[in-house]
Amino acid sequence: MASTKDEILFDHNHDGIDRRGFLRCMAWAGTGAVCVLNGGVLTSYALGRGGEHGVKIPKGELAFVQISDSHMGFDKPANPDVVATFQAAIDKINALPVAPEFILHTGDVSHLAKPAQFDNVEQLLKSPRTQDVFYVPGEHDLVGDDGQQFRERFAKGTQGAGWYSFDKKGVHFVGLVNVANLKAGGLGSLGTEQLEWLEKDVKHLKSSTPVVVFAHIPLWTVYPDWGWGTEDSAQALGYLKKFGSVTVLNGHIHQTMQKVEGNVTFHTACSTAFPQPKPGAAPSPGPMKVPADQLRAILGVTDVHYKKGEHALAITDSSLV
């Protein structure tokens, strides 16, 4: 793929972000292109395997990876071998031109919150060169015990249902849980206690601090009929209004989607287990069967780079092939 340079062609929102150009660029993202937004100017680069195309991708000061929805234990026709595809994701991570400093797992680590399933993921995640992994649970991780096992294994020292924050190289990371205490007919939910904690957590940070929020269910309303949204996310985003750069990383929908709203970039990751249909494209959001030779092209990992002083983080999705 040839690299191209996109200048700002359309600036309807007068915020220096070329949305139409951005969306055109994003359409390539699933095939392994890097779209880098630097102060409103878009540049796209082809992401060849191991960078052999010789295209230099801007190195950030911080690089990390998001993986999601490994559903360890799933064994139905949509993917009879989620271990193999999870391993392929790890191989992908190990092959990245810049070693990620840590991995964010945005939930549905297991399929049924069974000990063997959690064990399996922990075992597999011993192999990547990146050893630091931060987790937030998906609804499948809370099955049967309201998340007790999940918290014991992956959320030690966290609060409530497993929320927490940490800092890396000047970037503030917040892990939120929007899959606990779900109510009949409802969407994802953060709850009062967590929202109060979040307000306090970011209150004293400088507005120039880049913030990355990660949670399982999307924090914007993707498709309410299928439960793809969070009821009280507006309140959470309100606490982050002052920040110049907010990146929200989610999973749950098993496909990549991106939305930019002011200073907030929302991004959802692929699953490493099975794809789900596009909103409304099927009667329900169940596992989507695709021809076996196409499966790995629809599963993937997300690579994120931060460069100090840049407006937004550079987010790259790549498939498992």
Binding site: A184, P224, D225, W226, S284, G286, P287
Partner: protein, 122 residues
Amino acid sequence: MQRNTCVSSYRIAARAAALAIIGFSLLGFSENAAAGQNPAIQQVTIDNFSFTPATLTVPAGTEVTWINHDDIPHTVVSDDKSTFKSRALDTDEKFSFKFDKPGTYPYFCSIHPKMTARIIVQ
């Protein structure tokens, strides 16, 4: 002769009707037997992220059985989260609950809370 024919026809018709009635009853009975229909047990199927039927009305004392036909696990949890609460049901797994008290019992899937339905017990 005509009268006899009329009477004969009538008798034949009456017999035919009687046989038909008996026949239909037998058919109905055997269908019930074949389906294993016991009025004390009713079933709800889970398919495509929906409970079918969405509203099931049963007499008090009925045991309702849910069966999951989806490729993804679901749960059956009463809205109050205490009256009944199944474990996660994988494909083809079942959960049963006996409804003794009349009332309306709304419930949902705790993994996919947009899935809602209710049992009305009379």
